[in-house]
Amino acid sequence: MTPNPTAPSKSSRRRLVAAPALLAALALTAACSNSSGGSGDGGGGAQTLSGDCAKYQPYAGHSGTTVTMFASILSPESDNLEKSWAEFGKCTGIKISYEGSNDFESQLPVRVAGGNAPDFAIIPQPGLLAQMVKSSKVVKPPAQTVANQDKWSPVWKTYGSVNGTFYAAPMSANMKSLVWYSPKTFKAAGYEVPKTWADLMALSDRIAKAGGGKPWCGGIASGTATGWPATDWLEEVVLGTYGGDVYDQWVGHQVKFSDEKITAAMKTVADWMQNPAWVNGGYGDVKSIATTTFQDAGAPILTGKCLMLQQASFYKAQWPKDTKIGPDGDIFAFHLPAVNPAIASPVEGGGEFLTAFASRPEVQAVQNYLSSSDWASSRVKTATGWVSANQGVDKSLYTDPIDRLSADALTDPGATFRFDASDMMPAAVGSGQEWKSLTAWFAEGQSIQKTAADIDAAWPQ
């Protein structure tokens, strides 16, 4: 098959081998010379910071070092993060090399398993944090970071902990229990912002009967994550109906989806967001909720075709630039009332946790700084759209009314705060079957029993 013209001479064979080897060597030298950038003058030692930099003295002594950070936050939000620690970096000489990716959740486990973990990851899901801790690559925080947790309500510490050990300090908090509406439209029609669930339902009915716009709009389409806004609706109703204990048991699967408590909550959601007379303002029937993207969902509020949208505080980024947001503006939000009036101010929210994979002194210095009230204040001052549940942050720093509203609810000691349940359930359910089944529930009118049974069946044993 492969004819041989001649017996090869020894020298020619050697040359044949040498060429690729030379090429590979060239590639490696080129690569090595490329990778050495980044660290500057080195050294450090006992350095004293003065003037504006004096407040960073506790973090000094690591000049010329670089720490890497990997997160799911992309620009423009990540630009504000980088700005918020720019002064820290300039004063201490610690460079924070930030990398944002929208494949964060799948890339982080790959990099950690491959021995290529970043120094820090900003993890938004306690479930992913637990998975990372299991890999035994997560490093426990230094004492100062632990002490900084006093400024957060204790429930936050449990969300940064795995099996009772505290690993990751929360950086930000967001509030999901908000209803977006148009104060202008409400005022013109003489509607009041409802204070109780019964008021909210009565108002919806009144709007529906009045004709014109429908009371609610919604959209749960979000690419491969389609269905997640529907999980929030269910979570808010479960939390607002039964309170924190049942919610926690539900997250831990002691209370199953097919439990009558949860199916009753699903019925409440169905009466609200699957009511053909109430949805889907501006888009069509109930099924259109499944095909409307969550980004577009609220747009009809501006034209009056829809009056209310239940969506998280970060939905603010979706309004057109010239929209006036505020209590007297085009758009504002109110706190979704509890289904059961006995539950004190239920707040469903999310947050991001700073997880360290290294214990070098400069990494710990950054970890201490980012868990402090100073940094939280610095981030709040940099730009709107960021809320911390850190009680050491002066509320007057929040210039945006939505941020202020969220901050008030999140730091309220009387509120029943719970973390987004689907982010805490095992990924196979919380970011898998629950999304799929709830989407089918909206898109195909699948029964509550089947939806609940399907989700339970996907729970890892």
């Binding site: 004819p3 020298s11 040359r15 490696l28 990716s101 021995g115 290529n116």
Partner: protein
């Protein structure tokens, strides 16, 4: 279409009068081909038109409305190139440079290695050469997704057998090298297979004549084999270049997303922002990333058709 035209660029040479060729040159077939081409191009045209429209128009109606109410501008392109999309300080330029710095070496390395390996396996007789060839070819079945973590471990931790270090860990973090190496490794099986079949079918007389004239293996490879298998090399180069240029997974895993090393694909994936607020920039970004592959394709195109038949039937 006619016999005259069929003369040049006909890779099969002798089969000018075959029924297949006749069927393909009938006017009906031409109309069909043109229709398919137009249909095939419409989405790309839509992408181009969308990239030129401002955001509020794109939200309001479909791209075809641009022909009725033309309101086209280069605003999106300006934002993507110089402002970097959703507010990031650098535009697309550093990522374009990274893409080139990744794609060109990641195309040349496997090309050079595979051409040499293919010649060696085809014309240098040694014990087990067929087995080596078969094993190399069989390696194609390893999916890249499965090899990511082991490869990453190899780079960051080296390979050990007990206390014996087989391969020392190399600190390649934050450089192009891991991406080059990964792409080279995964390209080699197909490249060796493709080029081997092409090179093995070169006329034996040529090789023998060269040997009689006293040429060494390297001389034969350089002066006879390489010029003769240019079509195969070019077609593989196009394949590999397009694959590397469009790759997101390998780049994301081995290079990461920092502006120092990340290619265009990584940046495109982030362009719309955390909550998809700037999605109108994606079309412009996509078009900018098409330009380079188009240049490569058109400049190597004349080899492509010939090279496609590399390793298949020879007339």
């Amino acid at each position: 279409m006619s016999r005259l035209n069929a003369h040049d660029g006909n890779p099969l040479g002798t089969r000018r009068g075959s029924p297949v060729r006749k069927a393909f040159s009938s006017p009906l077939a031409s109309v069909f081909v043109i229709a398919v081409t137009v249909l095939w191009t419409i989405p790309t045209l839509g992408l181009l038109v969308t990239s030129l429209r401002p955001k509020q128009d794109v939200t309001a109606d479909g791209w075809w409305n641009a022909f009725v109410h033309p309101d086209l501008g280069l605003g999106n392109y300006h934002t993507v190139l110089f402002e970097g999309g959703s507010g990031v300080s650098t535009g697309l330029m550093p990522f374009l440079v990274n893409s080139l710095a990744i794609s060109i070496p990641a195309t040349l390395f496997p090309l050079v290695l595979a051409a040499m390996a293919a010649y060696g396996l085809a014309w240098v007789r040694f014990r087990g050469s067929d087995t080596v060839f078969f094993v190399v070819f069989a390696l194609q079945v390893v999916p890249i997704q499965m090899a990511l973590i082991p490869l990453l471990r190899l780079f960051s931790g080296g390979a050990h057998l007990g206390s014996l270090t087989l391969i020392p860990p190399v600190d390649l973090k934050g450089s192009y090298a891991p991406v080059w190496l990964a792409h080279t490794m995964f390209a080699l099986p197909l490249a060796v297979f493709l080029l081997h079949n092409f090179i093995a079918q070169l006329p034996r007389d040529l090789m023998e004549a060269a040997v009689v004239d006293g040429a060494s293996h390297f001389k034969i490879f350089r002066s006879i084999v390489l010029p003769l298998c240019t079509p195969a090399l070019a077609s593989f180069a196009i394949f590999q270049f397009l694959w590397v240029w469009n790759d997101l997974l390998v780049a994301l895993t081995f290079a990461g997303g920092t502006p120092e090393v990340a290619p265009m694909t990584v940046r495109l994936a982030q362009l719309a922002g955390s909550f998809g607020g700037r999605w109108e920039l994606l079309t412009a970004g996509a078009f900018l990333s098409i330009i380079v592959p188009l240049i490569v394709f058109f400049s190597l195109q004349r080899y492509f058709v010939r090279g496609l038949l590399a390793g298949s039937v020879k007339g």
